[in-house]
């Protein structure tokens, strides 16, 4: 057992996918030529005033509901001051006292709850672009709506932190309030980490690692920081409270500023924005708009649809894949067949996270549904279905384009027994083996039946019948 336990809390910034910015009507679209998505409000011109975008409030409330938070029916905006060229007003409009959401949680697969302290809304800063020795400011991102999700110091390992982030990403995507793309910066994470001796209750001195933009970075930064702090503590030293920067290239952290130089944000209530009030009617509407969340969906797939746990996990990881699965499995007898086709053949073809997230496969869910129904009605065999599905994925054409007459002859269930008897007669060794307790020997006999039927027989039924015939 390690001497020190790591204690971690996360602050995650998530860009909300509203059409317009949080305080003006500029588009939030990613990309765009520099400074084409900005106006007097998001560049902080004198006399400009922010007008709070109601959609931002609603998206944030939905995020809060999905993360089991209490929604504060009255919250207030606040000014957070710091001087940097990416902040044109020299303050960020955020929330401090009375945030929009408080007290939620995310459940890890182990059953451990990660508690969420608060979620508040705020504006993103502009982007500094370094160009040949010069620094240029692109205000397109300035004023894009963010939620900041702050957890309690509940994590005890890097794995827990990354699992939480993955869950967070899946939940927010399922609710449709953010695309949570770390590579585009629409999900960014700050890590607060401290160490304490195992069994000790008091928290150690923490360092804050800023702006981590991939799951790998989060894990690497935590591991590095653990080792760094452990080394200090083991040598009898004291960890300084400071803000640290993570270098993704070297996998190390370095000091950004210490406690003495920490910013004094001078928060005070934003006088330009009236308090945010959520009426009953709005809260009810938003509650009813929360879709089934990934964990609930996974449980339903396993328990009600008989999908294997691992497959269900893959399907529910991506909102669009889950939707596709449900359409493909609609009205079929064995939904798990649809799951298998997606998780094996389709995922072999569609491999990257981004592609799976965007999910626009060559075969429509209706076409897959049709194929499964052909299979279930015994018009084609499983092997034929697999082959044809491969061809469908290559071409985007429906199953009927590839089914030959021979494929469609189907299999007459009445011919199963003669085939089984032949297989038993022709493979006495396997029969003996099976009789002497080698369960696996039956597979050789099933294989013989399948070959004889050109793959059209139902293997499960063949196995049943073979056992029955051998056992008399």
């Amino acid at each position: 057992m390690k001497t020190y336990e790591m204690v971690i809390g996360l602050e995650t910034h998530v860009e909300l996918s509203t059409k317009t910015k949080i305080f003006c009507a500029c588009t939030t679209e990613f990309g765009g030529a520099p400074n084409t998505h900005c106006c007097p409000v998001c560049t902080g011109q004198p006399g400009s005033l922010p007008v709070l975008n109601q959609s931002v409030v609603e998206y944030a409330v939905m995020a809060g509901l999905a993360l089991n938070c209490k929604i504060n029916r009255r919250s207030i905006m606040a000014r957070k001051h710091y001087v940097y060229p990416d902040l044109p007003k020299a303050y960020q409009i955020s929330q401090y006292e009375q945030p929009l959401c408080e007290g939620g949680w995310v459940m890890l697969d182990s059953g451990k709850k990660i508690n969420i302290t608060r979620i508040h809304i705020e504006e993103d800063a502009a982007k500094l672009v370094h160009q040949g020795g010069a620094v240029c400011i692109d205000y397109n991102r300035g004023g894009v709506p963010l939620i900041e999700i702050v957890t309690e110091p509940d994590f005890r390992s890097a794995a827990e932190a990354t699992e939480y982030l993955e869950k967070l990403q899946q939940i927010l995507r399922a609710v449709g309030v953010s695309d949570c793309r770390m590579q585009e910066g629409s999900l960014r994470c700050d890590v607060n980490i401290s160490l304490r001796r195992q069994g000790e209750a008091e928290l150690g001195v923490r360092s804050e690692i800023k702006n981590l933009n991939s799951f790998v970075s989060v894990a690497t930064a935590i591991e590095y920081e653990y080792e760094r702090q452990e080394e200090i503590l083991s040598a009898g030293g004291i960890v300084e409270q400071e803000t640290r920067h993570f270098d993704a290239d070297t996998g190390t952290t370095s000091s950004l500023r210490d406690k003495e130089n920490a910013d004094d944000y001078r928060y005070f209530p934003e006088p330009d924005i009236i308090p945010v009030v959520i009426p009953d009617s709005v809260l009810e509407r938003l509650k009813s708009a929360i879709p089934e969340l990934p964990d609930a969906k996974r449980a339903r797939y396993v328990e009600e649809l008989g999908v294997p746990e691992a497959d269900a996990r893959m399907l529910t990881k991506y909102r669009k894949v889950a939707e596709y699965f449900e359409e493909a499995a609609a009205g079929v007898k064995t939904p798990k067949t649809a799951a298998t086709f997606i998780v094996t053949q389709m995922f072999a073809l569609i491999q990257t996270e981004a592609e799976r997230e965007n999910w626009s496969p060559p075969v429509t869910a209706a076409q897959l549904n049709e194929l499964i129904k052909l299979l279930e009605s015994d018009k084609i065999s499983r092997n034929v279905a697999k082959r044809v599905f491969g061809q469908m994925l290559e071409s985007g054409k429906p199953a009927t384009a590839f089914l030959t007459e021979a494929d469609l002859v189907g299999f007459n269930p009445a011919s199963l027994e003669p085939l089984c008897r032949t297989a038993i007669a022709e493979n006495p060794k396997s029969v003996e083996d099976y009789k002497s307790g080698k369960e696996k020997a039956i597979k050789a006999l099933v294989g013989a039946v399948m070959r004889a039927s050109q793959g059209r027989a139902n293997a499960l039924e063949a196995e049943e019948l073979l056992k029955k015939l051998i056992n008399g």
Partner: protein, 483 residues
């Protein structure tokens, strides 16, 4: 003094074209501004364009809207697209806004004729208008004296006959004080009645735009023209028009007098106020004595809140996007520091420092938080006041116009706001009306404070006084345009 109705009559009776009248004001401004320093920028082109549009309309026989064709002055902290808006600061000396303030948008839409942008204390911080980067404005009644602040240029232009009315802004008395010093009517509307969009912020929770005029009816007309609920200002709520409601009848009206507002007044002001009270009694109003013990907390509360908000609002002037920039610097931090040190005047720097201090960790609870609590108590105190009376009558300023260049400490200067800033703290409407002259002949103002959105009551009370005294206290300065 010239009123909106006077100009309207000339125009509708075709005694003069709007262009001729406008030109007369422009000429007078060009001639007299070197003395009064009321205008920072003259906007002849915009004025004449608007005048021509008005003349065309008159020729077609169309009716004019209330402010159409009337020459006016706009305080230089109200954004005018394409026309420089300086806030009387070196920081914004050459700043040209890319959008219009809501009030200017409204007025422009009505062919209001803007003669120019009015001088002011830098960023509206001051009580004498001497804190202007462009030099202070003079009082037309005696140019050895100040016009008052911060909307001094607006009051100076109107009292000096260089505009018929003016639009100022009031954070702690910046409309009412210069109105009082220059013998004019100045209305600070209820917080939220007029949109602040495009008003360059000083203290966002206190700032309000309003009129400075030569008579009460004009104040009502201008108020009606500029108040509206603006979707671009979340704190704006608009207000009901008041002009049609004014009768000048105060019979049965309860006028509250709180002794705290009358402590330590010079004799001349005390006497003018006594006369006003007697006159109201004569007109059938009931005078009620009451207490306002919170008055002693008003000034510290105001200066903590106003400076806190100012320190935040003025953080954006870093020279990166607009405004003054230093040309001698080592790095980014140095650039921002020097730009701000050189671009802001001493009073602005002082208030930014004060505001930063009261918001800092460790001092927040002792200052800002306490001031917020006091603000709530002051609101409650006013609510109590208005259960016992309809309107509170006070002097506007405990002094008359100070001598230009008088040597005062910042604290002495701040104390001149003591009677006006409570209305800003509570967001209430208040009007200053001329009610006398001191021994030097400098105007004295009386202030009427009303309940929220009761501009009708305070203006009606003011109108009763003005009518009964036949406007004797709105004395012509003898300068500028005489019709």
């Amino acid at each position: 003094m010239t009123t909106i109705a006077d100009i309207k009559r000339l125009l509708t009776e075709k005694k003069a074209s709007c262009r001729e009248l406008t030109q007369r004001y422009l000429d007078a401004a060009a001639q007299t501004n070197p003395v009064l320093n009321a205008y920072i920028t003259l906007t002849a082109e915009a004025a004449l364009d608007a005048a021509d549009a008005v003349d065309k309309k008159l020729q077609s026989g169309a009716q004019l809207s209330p402010l159409e064709g009337i020459p006016f002055v706009l305080k230089d902290n109200i954004s005018t697209k394409g026309i420089r808006t300086t806030c009387a600061s070196r920081m914004l000396e050459n700043y040209v806004p890319i959008f219009d303030a809501d009030v200017w948008e409204s007025l422009k839409g009505q062919n209001a004729v803007m003669i120019g942008k009015g001088n002011m204390d830098e960023f509206a911080m001051g009580s004498t208008c001497e804190n202007s980067y462009f030099g202070g404005s003079r009082n037309p009644h005696n140019t050895e004296h100040v016009a008052g602040g911060s909307s001094g240029g607006v009051a100076s232009a109107v009292a000096g006959g260089l505009a018929v009315y003016g639009i100022g802004s009031d954070t702690g008395g910046s409309i009412r004080m210069p109105a009082s010093f220059c013998g004019l009517v100045g209305l600070k509307p209820t917080y939220g009645a007029v949109s602040r969009r495009g008003l360059i912020a000083y203290g966002s929770s206190l700032d309000q735009i309003g009129p400075i005029t030569t008579c009460v009816e004009d104040a009502a007309l201008v108020f009606d023209a500029i108040c509206r609920k603006d979707p671009g200002d979340m704190t704006s709520r608009g207000a009901e028009p008041v002009s049609g409601k004014l009768t000048g009848n105060v019979k049965g009206l309860k006028i509250g007098i709180a002794k705290e507002f009358f402590e330590g007044l010079p004799d001349s002001i005390g006497k003018a106020l006594d006369n006003a009270v007697s006159l109201y009694k004569k007109l059938g109003a009931e005078v009620v004595s009451l207490d306002f013990p919170m008055l002693k907390y008003v000034l510290p509360t105001y200066y903590i809140l106003a400076c806190a908000e100012a320190s935040s609002n003025l953080g954006r002037y870093d020279g990166l996007r607009y405004g003054y920039r230093t040309d001698d610097f080592n790095d980014l931090n140095d650039f921002i520091c020097r730009t701000r040190s050189e671009g802001f005047g001493p009073e602005v720097r002082r208030r930014i420092l004060l505001g930063t201090y009261v918001l800092s960790a460790g001092y927040y609870d002792a200052y800002y938080n306490k001031a917020q609590l006091l603000r709530r108590s002051i609101v409650v105190e006013f609510a109590k006041v208005f259960t016992g009376c309809d309107v509170l009558l006070t002097p506007t300023v405990p002094v008359t116009a100070l001598r230009f260049g008088a040597d005062m400490t910042p604290v002495e200067m701040y104390q001149t706001d003591i009677l006006t800033c409570s209305a800003n703290i509570a967001g209430l409407p208040a009007v200053s009306v001329p009610c006398g002259f001191d021994e030097k002949g400098l105007p004295i103002g009386l202030q009427l404070i009303g309940g929220k959105f009761r501009e009708d009551i305070i203006l009606n009370t003011a109108l009763a006084f003005e009518r009964e005294t036949s406007g004797a206290f709105c004395k012509d300065s003898g300068m500028g345009v005489t019709l």
